[in-house]
């Protein structure tokens, strides 16, 4: 199997989808000729022409609205928002329109669109290139929300998302584009070419939406994570010297609750980690579900480790980022509780 970076895997997914189905179109700011600021769409315009892959004006609402109109026509747009931090102007189109068109028209009109956006921090991107807005999507009925953590999943989930009959928010942890960053910013990152999850099957293959992956098994504690935090969780488990179930959620909605509940009932302890700010983050939903479904198995409260409740700072990147030290501290806390 070829080795790919996450960027290459994402590009390959779109390439495969465009090759199979004329209705798949790709567009976004700088996504056409140039191939995207992270180069995820590079080469697609050349290969499929500028009717299938093109640049857009800088108007996120227009991008999503156009995609919605196209989807109702019968196309399958897979669009790029340059950074998740810039999706807010499109939030109305996503929430009030894309998410509800099927429902309000009783299925007469549907909205099979994929909205890709780089998410998360760790790149000194400051307030507007670092955000993790997943909870703003999981609260909205009618949207699916996906966060891959490696090239293999990225390709398989993206093809599944493009094939999905409903709108899918596809959040790409930008700090993982080139390797499994684990929060140790002072150490070199293994490139994907040397990582087994950098092995990506050719052609069409899917990772189904709604299924989590258990990245490692252990009986001491369950760590729930997604995106970059999967690697942070693994590093933290090592540093705390515990045997942890590390669950990579992959899809936040629909959520693979069974895998979570099975694990927490086994371990009796749960740590939840994400980069987004703590309050009303997706970790709140996870903690609520865990205590609801595993109450009688829990030895300690489920603990959340998350971004602080401040805007994402620039200079204090590593004070803000919930790295291995904070996560292993939380692990020890639940272990000792």
């Amino acid at each position: 199997m070829p080795r790919m970076t996450m960027i290459e895997a994402i590009r390959d997914a779109m390439d495969v989808a465009m090759g199979r189905d004329d209705n798949v179109v790709v567009f976004g700011e700088d996504a056409g000729y140039f191939g995207g600021v992270f180069r995820c769409t590079q080469g697609l315009q050349q290969k499929y022409g500028s009717s299938r892959c093109f640049d857009t004006p800088i108007n996120e609402s227009g991008i999503i609205a156009a995609a919605i109109g196209m989807a109702s026509y019968g196309l399958r747009p897979c669009v790029e928002i340059q950074f998740a931090d810039y999706m807010y102007p499109a939030y109305d189109q996503i929430v009030s329109e894309a998410a509800r068109i099927r429902y309000r028209s009783n299925g007469e009109f549907t909205c099979p669109i994929v909205i890709r956006m780089p998410t998360g921090g760790g790149i000194f991107g400051g307030q507007t290139h670092s955000q993790s807005p997943e909870a703003l999507f999981t609260h909205v009925s009618g949207l699916k929300t996906v966060v891959p953590s490696n090239p293999y999943d990225a390709k398989g989930l993206l093809i599944a998302a493009i094939d999905d009959p409903d709108p899918v928010i596809f959040l790409e942890p930008k700090r993982l584009y080139n390797g499994p960053f684990n929060g140790h910013h002072d150490r070199p990152v293994t490139p994907w070419s040397k990582h087994e999850l950098g092995e990506v099957p050719q052609g069409t293959f899917k990772v189904p939406l709604g299924s989590a992956a258990v990245r490692r098994e252990g009986s001491d504690v369950t760590i729930l994570a997604y995106g970059t935090m999967v690697y942070v969780a693994e590093a933290a488990a090592d540093e705390a010297a515990v045997e942890a179930d590390v669950i990579d959620l992959r899809t936040l909605l629909p959520l693979d609750l069974d895998t979570i509940v099975t694990s927490v009932r086994k371990t009796g302890r749960c740590v939840i980690v994400h980069e987004a700010t703590l309050t009303s983050g997706f970790g709140a939903e996870l903690a609520a579900l865990v205590q609801e479904h595993c109450f009688y198995h829990l030895e300690a409260p489920a603990i959340r480790v998350a971004g602080w409740d401040t805007p994402y700072p620039h200079a204090q990147e590593w004070d803000y980022f919930p790295g291995p030290a904070r996560v292993s501290h939380a692990i020890r806390e639940v272990m000792e509780a």
Partner: protein, 410 residues
Amino acid sequence: MVAENRLSFHVPEPEVRPGDEPDFSDVVIPRAGSVPRPSVDVDPKDIRDLAYSIIRVLNRQGEAVGPWAGALTDEQLLEGLKHMMALRAFDARMLMAQRQGKTSFYMQHMGEEAVSCAFRKALNPGDMNFPTYRQAGLLIAGGYPMVDMMNQIYSNELDPLKGRQLPVLYSSREYGFFSVSGNLATQYPQAVGWAMASAIKGDTKVAAAWIGDGSTAESDFHAALVFASTYKAPVVLNIVNNQWAISTFQGIARGGSGTFAARGLGFGIPALRVDGNDYLAIHAVSKWAIERARRNLGPTLIEHVTYRVGAHSTSDDPSAYRPKTESDAWPLGDPVLRLKNHLIVREVWSEERHKQAEAEVLDTVISAQKEAEKHGTLHAGGKPSTRDMFEEVFAEMPPHLKRQRQQAGV
């Protein structure tokens, strides 16, 4: 240094308020037939004037005059009249039904019937409208069954939308009527996207976007114009200027620009204003714009100049913000009356036949209503199920919704 004058704050105000004498003397109405009809491949630069005039066909004598006249047969015009009469009768019955508590809410078209009825007849099968809540004429003139509209309004057991949507927010793919949103302006750029898709696929279908005067202020209006202009999308961008946005007069949204149509000029989009109470003019201008779109010449903006005679909705009382008799003073008259008079001038219609037609239309509406009410109204009789509430959130119901449906005991 010269002593500087202090700034002052400017808020546009309508000429008159409740208690005042209605006054439309500032509304310039060009003579019917006076505005030229350019060819559809005209350079937009050369017709900027059309954004500041009003294309009119029917004159005061009820004659169809000028270069935009002559496209419609007697039969087509008679059909148009009946559509408008049907819409008016439909509105009257549904308003009453709302007052009787048979539904929660209703929005009428009084005074604006010509706009959507005439436009609809200029479209081809397969074209798609992205309407607001005030274009039911697109359905009526398109032959959509009235009883289905009523089922939707009543949220009854035959409601095609299963009780999920607010009354009048219809949806019909088959009839080229995109699911109406409760949020203003969002669908304007979606129409552009739909049109882009038609171009991407190399098809021949065109889209029509709809928006109210007040809603042109929304930012999505800009998104639509930007995308339409950049990709030369085959779309007709309609603005229905009925002078009011709930309680605010059109000056609040229009600001210092002379007209709403003028908004198109900054995008190189040809912009035409049309007498929105003149069935013939609307039809002719719509045809022109739709042809442009279909010939791959790009978007056209049409401002339909009309007047909202009724309240904004059943939740509104306009006597609080405008003179009660303002609609009588509206200089473009009543669209039904004007077409009726024209047909009489044409000698294919008469007062008697009109009366008779009114009765017939009413009958049709009433029998549709009876039929619909057999299947329930909002608070009585048949209704969509609780199960329906959980369906169509997604194509396939995910586990968490199944759990919730179970909790709901359905």
